[in-house]
């Protein structure tokens, strides 16, 4: 890695001590590739997450299409057994860890701080680190295709099939270390979001005034926080078996393969709620807006979310009903599983009640949200039939399960996320997506989805096991398999429509107003797209649905009445650009964290270590590479710790001296002024004393970003 790409202005050179901030001079470019690579802005990181995850979605989707092609007819010949096993393993792993989780993370990143009225997350650089770790983890995993074979043990990698005796290749190693990297990424970001939500809400925003999507983010983050270490240990045990000859899953030495299943599913079940809760949050935002009614029973929605989060920890054995754990355990977990339907049902009915007697505008996001209710319910109901454990002895490991989880994952999580994408697109990109194409997108999506996965219920009950690369005509399964394949390609068409819609909106640039949907939460009170610093002035919150209450009051009959002079939207109501300059003025004073290389550097150490571990197994010398990776990681972390965030600690003489020449430049670089006028930099410098954070009047409100200090 070199130092900076663009030559700094002489002025900057003169005042910036060379040796500060460790190895590299601080990045300053406000735009262009490097500004994205070094960004610590939660909004940009959110976009990076979204784009990356979408690309992985295409990869996972193409894998799905391959699976469906192979299965379209009996005795298919598109993929061999080996390729098929690799493809379904990568499909499941991709969709879960590289698509739905990071897509949710994209919204956590982008929307949550806006919803709670914060300027950024608690640890902006850590946030960038999470993203890079996620990206590298995904690339690492996919590099296995080029390096001798992808993992082929299924997305839950049951031992001992994944032990070295039965999977001597490197595929499983890639899977193990890839997931470890992704686990680090998720855990770190979960901590970040939790702290952000607990600590950085705008003044007046009590927890029970927090928008429901942020609530679901919070619960999801807690689930990640507590679930990830479990799979971390499981993966470590497996890698000790594989790399160092330990016996954890070696039956010959007395090891019990069921241990793996327990650890995996103790993680795995909370994981499925990690996947669904954010989508539920998005749907809960969309329905009220397009029904012109508040969310029905907000407190109950919050508490049922918490209840799902808690109960989700007590049901994991439902993935192990065929293991033979004895009637007591099976009964206990059958019942605990069934009763998760109760808090989930509450949500379903409250959503319907939200739309009931509302004024429904069936825009694309609304269609996806209502589709979510309908389709997720189907998946939930098949879940309950699984929970009836005696019959699950017939259903488990068949396409009936595959149907169940696609109805909750695709019919649930992805429908919800699509609702979220259509809903928030104008806010994020400042342009509107086309509604007609959106509706086409929805209907092909909806029909294709049901064609693809509806028949799988039948296939499963008719005795089609999952994870088979081929099946014989004698089983009588051809018709519905063909239907399912047709459905999969219908979805592919729908995805193309979606991509076309994006491309078109990018070309047409139909400017989005600040509040195109007449929405309820704070992110709609600022311009679209939001300025770098989010809120020129941190809002003070008086109620749930704060923004709505700035626009409307209720008359005696409980009907909304528009307030004559809405003081709410900074962005003005329907005029997207009237405020731009005004904001730039205000933006000058706002002190945002500066970009940094180090999260990227530190995260880069992870895949290096991982490659070392993979190849260390076959040649001991490769463990040197692990050390190299660790050095990169530690060096990155060290430089990071030494580099102040934009706001240096007020009382740290050394640092202030070292950076006094640089900091103001950074403020300008980060601030919107620099976007338009690079020459402002020197002018800025004088006006902004180093460590001016405490003097900044707009800072220090409850929602101001706390200094990052020497965080991890």
């Amino acid at each position: 890695m070199t130092t900076v790409l663009e030559p700094p202005t002489p002025d900057v050179l003169a005042t910036t001590p060379v040796e500060d901030a460790g190895l590299m001079r601080r990045p300053t470019e406000p735009q262009g590739v490097w500004s994205w690579i070094t960004t610590v802005d939660h909004k940009r990181i959110g976009i990076l997450y979204g784009v990356t995850a979408f690309i992985f979605f295409l990869a996972g989707g193409i894998e799905a299409l391959l699976l469906r092609l192979q299965l379209a007819k009996p005795n298919g010949t598109v993929l061999g057994a080996e390729a098929y096993n690799e493809v379904f393993t990568m499909h499941g792993t991709t969709m879960v860890f590289l698509v739905v989780m990071p897509l949710s993370a994209a919204f956590f990143n982008y929307m949550m701080p806006l919803q709670i009225g914060a300027r950024d997350v608690a640890f902006p650089r850590l946030n960038a680190f999470s993203y890079w770790a996620f990206l590298f983890g995904g690339l690492f995993l996919y590099s296995s295709f080029l390096l001798g074979g992808a993992p082929d043990g299924g997305w839950f990698g049951y031992a001992p099939n994944t032990s070295i005796v039965f999977s001597p290749g490197h595929g499983i190693d890639f899977w193990v270390y890839g997931l470890q990297i992704l686990g680090i990424a998720s855990t770190v970001s979960a901590v970040n979001f939790i702290v952000t939500m607990l600590n950085m809400r705008a003044p007046g925003m009590t927890l029970m005034r927090m928008p429901i999507f942020s609530w679901m983010t919070l619960i999801s983050s807690f689930l990640i926080l507590f679930a990830m270490p479990v799979i971390t240990v499981a993966l470590f045990l497996l890698s000790f078996d594989r790399n160092f000859g330990a016996n954890f899953f070696n039956p010959a030495a007395g090891g019990d393969p069921v241990l793996w299943q327990h650890l995996f599913w103790i993680f795995g079940h909370p994981e499925v709620y990690i996947l669904i809760l954010p989508a539920m949050g998005m749907v809960s935002e969309v329905l009220p807006v397009f029904s012109r009614k508040p969310l029905f029973g907000y407190p109950v929605m919050v508490f049922s979310g918490i209840a799902i989060g808690f109960m989700g920890w007590g049901v994991w054995v439902h993935h192990m009903f065929a293991v033979g754990l004895g009637p007591v355990a099976v009964s206990a977990f059958s019942l605990s599983t069934m009763f998760i339907a109760v808090p989930t049902g509450v949500k379903i009915f409250n959503w319907i009640a939200t739309t009931w007697k509302g004024s429904l505008k069936l825009t694309t996001p609304m269609l996806f949200a209502m589709g979510f209710i309908a389709m997720f319910t189907i998946g939930g109901l098949s879940g309950v039939t699984h929970a009836v454990s005696p019959h699950d002895r017939q259903q488990t490991d068949t396409y009936y399960v595959v149907a169940h989880f696609h109805y909750v994952l695709f019919g649930g999580a992805l429908f919800g996320i699509m609702a979220g994408i259509y809903y928030w697109w104008p806010k994020v990109f400042g342009t509107m997506l086309d509604e007609r194409l959106g509706k086409l997108n929805f209907w092909t999506w909806f029909v294709g989805f049901n064609l693809a996965f509806g028949p799988m219920h039948l296939l499963g009950l008719q005795g089609m096991p999952r994870r088979i690369y081929t099946y014989d005509e004698s089983l009588g399964l051809d018709f519905w398999n063909m239907v399912s394949t047709v459905g999969a390609f219908t979805i592919a068409f729908s995805v193309l429509v979606f991509m076309y819609n994006i491309w078109r909106s990018h070309k047409r640039k139909v400017k989005a107003p600040a509040d195109p949907w007449d929405a309820r939460t704070l992110e709609w009170s600022i311009p679209s797209p939001p300025p770098h610093y989010n809120f020129a002035e941190i809002p003070t919150v008086h109620a749930l649905d704060e923004f709505w209450h700035r626009k409307y009051t209720e008359d005696d009959d409980g009907r909304p009445v528009r307030v004559a002079d809405p003081q709410g939207g900074e962005g003005g109501d329907d005029d997207p650009d009237h405020d731009d300059e005004h904001h730039d003025d205000e933006g000058h004073g706002i002190h945002m964290p500066s970009p940094s290389y180090y999260p990227l550097v530190a995260a880069f150490g992870l895949p290096v270590m991982a490659y070392g571990m993979v190849y260390g197994r076959s040649s001991g010398q490769s463990y040197v590479v692990v050390v190299l990776g660790a050095v990169i990681l530690l060096a990155g972390l060290f430089a990071w710790a030494m580099e102040p965030s934009a706001e240096p600690e007020e009382h740290d003489h050394e640092m202030i001296e070292a950076h006094s020449g640089e900091e103001p430049v950074l403020v300008a670089a980060g601030g919107p002024a620099a976007l338009e006028d690079g020459g402002q930099e020197s002018g800025e410098k004088g006006g902004q004393p180093a460590g001016g954070a405490s003097e900044d009047p707009t800072d220090g409100g409850g929602g101001g970003p706390a200094p990052e200090g020497s965080g991890p």
Partner: protein, 336 residues
């Protein structure tokens, strides 16, 4: 309206499909909703009413969503619906109602769990040890001196107690029309009961992903009348006769020379452990995890290159000449 129309098409398709399932015809040999033994029937008797409950909830929710979408469409931009923030009574109602429904379901569930976990006992119970291998099944009849592969022979109308263990990875034993599946786990012993109402051949398959040829790890359960079963046992307990001359005799010699004997047991001739017992190979209709029908042609193809025919198969390609194969097959055909 378009939505309603399209939905109707979908639901009718689904309903037609369900009907097809319910009829459970001969063409679906692994249909779980068409049990042909008491164990599978217990599961089916439990799931049928649960499907009905689920169906009702399904209709209710879809109905409400559709109704709401159609009835409450915005007609003018000035509409100002009443701002209802919640309703404690209603919410309590739809918390309690599902809980009550589930209470009923759970009582039935626990009852059935207790029921199917009882081990079969009594004089007429047949015991069989099921051993899972990558990617074939081994069946041992303790006390009867019979070992066979991929085809489980049982007497109809009598409970058969299976003890399941695995030699390598986790498999799952699943004859859908006779019983639900139970995992076959190395280092553990699992017990299940199967029983067939009538004589006949029942399909089954390994249901836990177990590596490359998981898809080719099928099985058959062959139920006989009691008399036929005893006859079958008698035949299969006897050692194989060893041909000394002709092609078969040469084949028997090749069986040793080519190393077949080191992997395959032929009672009275060889004692290999790695592959299926071939003593009475010809008693079976299928081989190699029920992936192939047993006939000369298939055996020939198999012996040419097993891993080619069945990915990953642990029986190696022994580079046999056609002539050797012919002789080996001649020998294998004497294993009756």
């Amino acid at each position: 309206m378009a939505r309603a129309g399209r939905l109707r098409v979908l639901w009718t398709t689904a309903a037609a499909g369900l009907l097809l399932v319910a009829c459970g015809n001969q063409e679906l040999p692994q249909n779980t909703l068409d049990p042909e033994g008491p164990v599978a029937r217990k599961l089916d008797n439990l799931i049928d009413p649960v499907f009905v409950v689920a169906g009702l909830v399904f209709v209710l929710v879809q109905g409400l969503v559709l109704y709401s979408a159609l009835r409450f469409r915005r007609r003018s931009d000035d509409e100002a619906p009443r701002q209802v923030h919640g309703n404690a009574k209603l919410e309590l109602g739809w918390t309690v109602a599902p809980a009550l429904i589930l209470l009923v379901v759970s009582v039935a569930t626990v009852g059935t769990i207790a029921d199917i976990n009882r081990r079969a006992e009594g004089a007429d119970v047949v015991n069989v040890n099921v051993i899972g291998h990558q990617w074939w099944w081994e069946f041992e009849y303790p006390g009867r001196g019979v070992v066979t592969a991929n085809e489980l022979h049982i007497p109809a109308g009598r409970p058969v107690a299976l003890k399941l263990t695995s030699e390598d990875v986790i498999h799952s034993f699943w004859p859908p029309k006779l019983a639900g599946k139970l995992d076959v786990i190395p280092g553990r012993e699992n017990f299940m009961t199967v029983e067939a109402d009538e004589p006949g051949t029942y399909f089954g398959q390994c249901a836990e992903f177990c590596g490359l040829s998981h898809a080719d790890m099928g099985l058959r359960v062959v139920a006989h009348t009691s008399g036929d079963f005893d006859e079958w046992v008698r035949t299969n307990a006897a050692p194989a006769e060893r041909p000394n001359e002709g092609e078969a005799g040469e084949g028997a010699a090749l069986f040793r020379q080519k190393g077949c004997a080191s992997c395959h047991t032929v009672n009275g001739y060889s004692a290999g452990e790695l592959g299926p017992d071939l003593t009475h190979l010809q008693q079976r209709k299928v081989f190699a995890g029920a992936a192939f029908e047993l006939n000369e042609q298939n055996l020939r193809v198999w012996l040419r290159d097993p891993p080619e025919e069945k990915p990953g198969s642990l029986m190696p390609n022994l580079e046999l000449s056609e002539d050797e194969i012919t002789k080996l097959i001649a020998y294998l055909e004497t294993l009756k």
